[in-house]
């Protein structure tokens, strides 16, 4: 029997992996992948907690919504990355320092 704790552990591992990818990778696409991993960790939690909801399968429904939204955001993010590349000729976040004051 797979318990809630097992789901939580998998989710935490996913989250941490995504976090690590975000702060360490030098490629914006990889960072985007990290973001997706963290998002999926959250969706996994949603589904796992959905079992305790009074309405059946509402967790799964929200997960589907979130997946769709994630796809949309990924599309937006990719568009941003493309524009960043046009502007700076790189997608290494370390080399884009214009946020600095």
């Amino acid at each position: 029997m797979i318990t809630l704790a097992d789901f939580m552990i998998v989710s935490a591992v996913l989250f941490c992996t995504g976090m690590f990818i975000i702060v360490s990778k030098k490629n914006s696409i990889q960072i985007l992948i990290g973001v997706e991993l963290m998002l999926n960790a959250a969706i996994l939690n949603l589904v796992a907690f959905g079992k305790y909801d009074r309405i059946n399968n509402s967790g799964q429904m929200f997960a589907l919504f979130a997946i769709v939204l994630a796809a949309a955001t990924t599309a937006v993010a990719l568009a941003i990355i493309l524009n960043v590349y046009k502007q700076y000729k790189t997608i290494d976040p370390d080399k884009i320092k214009q946020l600095k004051d």
């Binding site: 976090m19 975000i22 702060v23 360490s24 960072i31 976040p93 370390d94 884009i96 320092k97 214009q98 946020l99 600095k100 004051d101």
Partner: protein, 688 residues
């Protein structure tokens, strides 16, 4: 005014004020409106003319009739009221008349004498101011204002003596006159302060009238006792010495006489005024005002000093070659007579001599002015290098300047004191009174009339010498420079009229209808209160006869020396000659001792100032700089240091915080994570 005066007296007072103020008004008008105008001379002359007319009116109303004294409160200090007012008594009106009447011909003469001078208008400003000071001096009723105008007389004479201030000699002379007069002023001021302390008033009438405060105070057991105050008698002596210093400085008595000969550097017309009526008369006038203050011993001292001055000045006049210097020393000599007469109690005779002397000395100076003026013309016409005042250059001017010659002759005879002149009347009066005074005093005091008599003989000699050298014989200039052209004359009416007027006033009818007896002079009756009653005896005939006989002999002797060259001339190298020619070495003594002493003292003071006072100041300065250095160091390193330190800390913190803002998105995220983790760790640590 405390009590109502009759209308005529009030009018007299107004006349007196007008007579005094008119010259001042002329001074103001000249000063403000008539900068360079030739009109200024006539403004001044008109003012003094009106003044003299008013003075004559006042004279007839007051002389031997009454005394007018008005005063009102000037200001108050504590409980002391200070009054100011006008005192018209016989002495005041006599001086008022004398000053204005002498000043009038001098003004008229000056309009011609100064007409080519660049400072014409300035001259008349000073002259009017001078007359104003002197006129005010004689009518003031309190010692404070008397002193103020006394100072003004000194100051305006300073201006006039230094009139040609571009000449070094004139500047030296007026400085000398001023400094010596300051010595006298200090004496007078001291005396006034002592008198106020003793009597609590400055009022001349209250102090000096018959039975007044001074007359009723006594000296007993070493104390000077007045109504309410007793002071040691030394103060009375100091007051008298102070007054004497004032008199000696103004009236050129030994030892303060040296300024008067040097005062010849001013224009000759000014010399005439100074010597006749205004400046030197002030001293004798002051003596007349404060006469009751002196006790018999002090009067005797006064007589001795006057006699010595008369004698000394006469001996100096014997050998001088400068025309004006001879006259200056003769003035000192005659002033000595006046002071001596005051000293022996011949109050009236002294003032009488002052009046007669004023006329004939003014006459002599104005004549000398013409002579010098003409010699200067010869000098300028012919480009000669001579001193126009040196009598050695003159001679034979009798024919060229007839009127001047007659005027000088009358003035000279009056100065010698020959009969038919006014000088005879006053001088014989003094000589006779001196003799009578000395009779009761013992043998030593007989020296005083003896020296007075001898001085009279010396006077005869130097006057004769001057007259002969200037007017008789041949013109020495022409003898030395045969080619020079000479066309000179007496000058216009503005030269002639004053001479004629003054010459007439120097003759006897103006003072007495009896040309041989001085006792019948009207002027003497005005001061009978002070006059010692003299018994008419044989001496009243013997002394004049003796003196005049001697004078005539000496004039003849001078004639033999200078005209005929037949008598033995005294050697010009003897001790006596050098003593006389160098003016008794008094000036040189003052220069060597007094002036040098003062200079050494000033040098020491200068040294002290530079080394000690400046040193102290410099030390203070150094200390100040040093303290300021410490303060500056403290400021820079401690105060500024704290500020800089805080700035550095803030900068460091800023720099540290800045590192998080490096623009890298991942770094921001990392920082955020770190913060969250720290919060969590802290939470766990605190909870457990």
């Amino acid at each position: 005014m405390s009590k109502a005066l009759p209308y005529q007296d009030i009018q007299t007072i107004y006349f007196a004020i007008a007579a005094v103020v008119l010259p001042f008004a002329a001074f103001v008008i000249n000063f403000l409106f008539l900068g360079k105008s030739k009109l200024s001379g006539w403004v001044s002359t008109l003012a003094i003319l009106v003044s003299s007319v008013l003075a004559a009116i006042i004279f007839t109303r007051v002389w031997n009739v009454q005394q007018i004294h008005v005063k009102q409160i000037w200001f108050r200090i504590g409980d002391s009221y200070l009054y100011t007012g006008i005192l018209l008594n016989n002495l005041s009106v006599l001086m008022l008349g004398l000053v204005s009447v002498i000043a009038l011909p001098v003004h008229i003469y000056s309009t011609a004498y100064m007409k080519d001078d660049a400072g014409y208008s300035r001259y008349f400003q000073y002259l009017s101011f001078f007359c104003f000071s002197m006129l005010a001096l004689v009518v003031m009723d309190n010692l404070i204002l008397l002193y103020a105008f006394w100072e003004l007389v000194g100051f305006s004479s300073y201006l006039l003596i230094g009139f040609w201030f571009d000449r070094a000699n004139a500047v030296q002379a007026n400085k000398k006159a001023f400094i010596i007069n300051r010595i006298g002023d200090i004496g007078l001021l001291t005396a006034i302060i002592i008198l106020f302390n003793q009597y609590q008033t400055f009022d001349i009438e209250r102090l000096f009238k018959e039975g007044g405060l001074i007359a009723s105070s006594t000296i007993k057991n070493g104390l000077w006792i007045s109504a309410d105050i007793q002071t040691p008698v030394i103060w009375q002596y100091i007051a008298c010495i102070g007054i004497f210093l004032g008199v000696a400085a103004k009236s050129a008595q030994f030892p303060l006489h040296t300024w008067l000969p040097d005062a010849m550097e001013g224009p000759t017309s000014v010399s005439a005024l100074i010597h006749a009526a205004t400046m030197v008369a002030a001293g004798v006038f002051l003596l007349g005002r404060v006469y009751p203050l002196f006790n018999p011993a002090e009067l005797t001292t006064l007589a001795v000093i006057g006699c010595f001055t008369a004698f000394m000045a006469a001996t100096i006049a014997l050998t001088q070659n400068d025309l004006k210097r001879i006259l200056a020393y003769s003035t000192i000599s005659q002033l000595g007579y006046m002071v001596m007469a005051m000293g022996i109690g011949a109050y009236a005779t002294s003032l009488f001599h002052l009046v007669t002397h004023a006329f004939f000395k003014c006459l002599l100076f104005l004549s000398a002015g013409i002579v010098i003026h003409q010699i200067k013309h010869i000098k300028e016409d012919n480009n000669l290098d001579i001193d126009p005042q040196d009598i050695a250059n003159m001679g034979g001017l009798r024919k060229k300047l007839p009127l001047t010659f007659i005027a000088t002759l009358i003035g000279g005879l009056a100065l010698i004191g020959l009969p038919l002149t006014s000088g005879y009347l006053s001088k014989e009066g003094i000589l006779i009174t001196t003799y009578e005074w000395a009779q009761g005093k013992g043998d030593m005091m007989l020296l005083v009339p003896l020296f007075a008599f001898f001085t009279s003989c010396l006077t005869a000699f130097y006057v004769a010498r001057m007259l002969l050298k200037v007017f008789f014989g041949d013109l020495n200039l022409q003898f030395l420079n045969p080619e020079i052209k000479i066309h000179i004359g007496d000058g216009g009416w503005r030269y002639k009229a004053p001479l004629v007027f003054l010459a007439l006033c120097s003759l006897f009818p103006f003072f007495s209808f009896n040309p041989f007896l001085h006792e019948e002079t009207w002027l003497l009756y005005g001061f009978s209160a002070y006059n010692s009653k003299s018994v008419f005896d044989i001496m009243h005939i013997a002394i004049p006869v003796l003196v005049n006989g001697a004078s005539l002999l000496i004039i003849y002797y001078a004639y033999m020396i200078y005209m005929k060259r037949s008598t033995i001339v005294l050697p010009q190298s003897g001790l006596l000659y050098r003593l006389s020619f160098n003016e008794w070495y008094i000036d040189r003594f003052y220069n060597r001792v007094v002036v040098k002493f003062v200079l050494v003292l000033s040098d020491m003071a200068f040294w002290f100032d530079r080394k000690v006072i400046d040193g102290f100041v410099n030390l203070l300065e150094k200390i100040g700089v040093f303290t300021a250095g410490i303060a500056s160091w403290f400021d820079r390193y401690i105060v500024d240091g704290i500020l800089h330190l805080s700035a550095v800390i803030v900068q460091a913190i800023g720099g540290f915080a800045r590192r998080f803002q490096n623009g890298k998105v991942q770094y921001y995220l990392f920082s955020m994570l770190l913060a969250v983790i720290v919060v969590f760790i802290l939470k766990i640590l605190i909870w457990n």
